[in-house]
């Protein structure tokens, strides 16, 4: 043991992961190539947003709430809106609820495709990264068509939604969804059949059923460990009580499981959007909500692409909230992270961190300090990623050599859509 401890190396990784919503610092202690201790620190992106929310009116806050996160902005604004609508006792029109579901599922599609690309990038599979992000453009096109903006859609408002979906939009979206469905089925085939990919992802970042429960994991991380934890099913909000939702679970409990869950969820999202477009009820899209919210408190939750998102709102009866507290899903998944990292190889750290979907490109440096002689080396995230790819290549896993053809009929279908 004494020999081991003298060989221990401490690696501060981070603290800034500039592309993250919640940047975190990781201090990893290594024995050889195994991580024996991981300390996670977050809070570098602290802006003081909750204080600012207490000085703005409810309708002004709506725009601030959307900008908590650019990737899952819709889910935050849905959680916020439905809490206030419930406090005011306003029942929003059914058509607005359906439109909220459509946008939420489009957001899930874009977020999961984004994740798929990032995860592929972290393991050195850049072909899939480019494929996934190219397909993500189709989703963003749909969002831009429905909401007018690619990111931070601004479609929600207190009492409903601000834009309607007409038949022409629905028709266009269905056309794009056909192409997307084809592509995602292809990724699913790839994830389940490609031996190199499976060998790289299986048994990495393990979090089994009991641990996931213990650490309170949410979203795809929990579902990949076999926990059917999905707010859309547990506590159906918006129109989810009418829309058929299948909760996707998997029993792998590792990064492969999380990949499968996310890819299957994308297919599920597509079928939900199709159902909503086919069964879109007629009527108004906006109900009137008073400016002043009655005194009281409300806890509202939604299923964000990354998991359970909880908003707490306390009103003192004025037009300005007394207190708003947002528990974003990644906040819950950090705790399981420590467990996932401990016992894994240094080379698996980038993908294990990426697999809970907190980050995708980090330009910060990691300092390797050898406690023996005080020697330190500077690595950035890219360096660690390259080290990781090389480490696996030396062991016979060369992801970059995977040749993947375009999905069949991709170009033909896209041409048809363009016509």
């Amino acid at each position: 043991m004494s020999d081991n401890s003298s060989n221990r190396i401490v690696i501060p990784l981070g603290p800034q992961h500039p592309a993250l919503k919640e940047p975190g610092s990781f201090t990893l202690t290594l024995e050889g190539e195994k991580v024996v201790n991981a300390v996670i620190g977050i809070g570098y992106n602290h802006r003081g947003l909750e204080k600012a929310l207490e000085s703005r009116t409810y309708i002004q806050n709506l725009y601030m709430i959307e900008r908590i996160c650019g990737i899952c902005s819709h889910t935050h604004s849905v959680a916020y809106c439905q809490a206030i609508e419930e406090m005011c006792g306003v029942e929003i029109p059914m058509r607005a609820k359906y439109i909220r579901v459509i946008i939420a599922e489009l957001e899930r599609l874009h977020s999961h495709l984004l994740w798929l690309g990032v995860a592929a990038h972290e393991i050195g599979f850049d072909t899939l990264f480019m494929y996934a992000w190219r397909d993500r453009e189709m989703v963003l096109d749909m969002l831009a068509e429905l909401c007018g903006n690619r990111v931070n859609y601004g479609i929600n408002t207190l009492g409903g939604v601000r834009r309607d979906i007409d038949d022409n939009d629905a028709h266009e979206i269905k056309k794009i969804l056909r192409v997307l469905h084809n592509q995602i089925s292809y990724y699913l085939e790839l994830a389940t059949n490609e031996p190199t990919l499976i060998a790289r992802l299986a048994d990495v970042g393990k979090l089994n059923h009991d641990d996931a429960l213990k650490f309170g994991a949410v979203g795809p991380v929990a579902r990949a460990a076999g926990i059917a934890n999905d707010v859309r099913k547990i506590e159906p909000y918006a129109a989810y009580d009418e829309v058929p939702v299948n909760v996707i679970t998997d029993d792998h409990g590792d990064v492969l499981g999380r990949t499968l869950v996310r890819v299957k969820e994308m297919l599920e999202s597509i079928s939900i959007i199709r159902y909503c477009l086919d069964n879109l009820p007629a009527g108004e899209i906006l109900a009137k909500v008073p400016r002043k919210v009655p005194a009281g408190e409300m806890i509202s939750r939604t299923e964000a692409p990354r998991g359970e998102n909880i908003h707490y709102i306390n009103s003192d009866g004025s037009d300005i909230p007394y207190r708003i507290r947002v528990r974003a899903p990644s906040e819950a998944n950090w705790h399981g992270m420590k467990h996932m990292l401990e016992g894994s190889f240094l080379a698996d750290v980038p993908i294990a961190i990426a697999a809970i979907d907190p980050c995708y490109s980090c330009t910060d440096r990691a300092i390797f300090v050898n406690s023996d002689n005080g020697e330190s080396r500077l690595y950035d995230w890219k360096g660690l990623r390259e080290y990781s790819i090389k480490w696996h290549r030396d062991r016979g896993l060369n992801i970059a050599d995977i040749q993947i053809p375009m999905a069949k009929n991709y170009i033909q279908i896209q041409r048809k859509t363009n016509d």
Partner: protein, 171 residues
């Protein structure tokens, strides 16, 4: 009687002081009134050990004016959210760390220390979160009497106008 009401009645049977202080808001939501520190600790222990509330989502800090409130959002396997509240005076905002029951609350307790000025007992020696390095001591931005307009970002000092200081001193 549904699950939520069963849980509430169990607490009422066990703790006489809690009677009528906890109510079911709606499906999957149980909200309590603020309890004192000792009462709160008895209830949270009971919830964790016997009623199966093994998950802690987060803690919400609230400035009630005279007092500081802390709302612990607990969850169980049936996905019920139990909002258990604790209230301490601002003069002595001392609470015990609940990380012995819920290790995941560590981050949220650190947040209470920084943003609300709570004194959390038995916290491990970890760096502060989430305020930046060099933040002036004694400034707790989430308290209602702290106004960000008086904070100078360049020098990292808090300079309230003289009038307000006098009023505070009188009180």
């Amino acid at each position: 009687m549904n699950n939520e009401e069963i849980i509430v009645s169990k607490i009422f049977d066990r703790f006489e002081f809690a009677r009528d202080k906890i109510h079911v808001q709606k499906r999957l939501r149980i909200i309590s009134d603020p309890f004192s520190r000792e009462e709160f600790e008895q209830i949270i222990e009971y919830l964790h050990d016997e009623l199966g509330f093994k998950i802690a989502h987060h803690i919400v800090g609230i400035d009630y004016g005279e007092d500081l409130g802390f709302i612990y959002m607990l969850g169980n396997d049936e996905h019920i959210i139990f909002a258990l509240k604790e209230k301490v005076s601002k003069e002595n905002p001392e609470i015990n760390s609940m990380t012995k029951y819920y290790p995941s609350l560590l981050m949220h307790e650190l947040e209470l220390v920084d943003l609300f000025g709570a004194i959390v007992k038995d916290l491990p020696d970890v760096p502060s979160y989430p305020l930046p390095d060099g933040w002036p001591k004694g400034n707790h931005p989430m308290r209602k009497d702290w106004n960000p307009a008086y904070f100078d970002h360049k020098t990292m000092t808090y300079n309230p106008p003289a009038k307000e200081v006098k009023e505070d001193e009188k009180q």
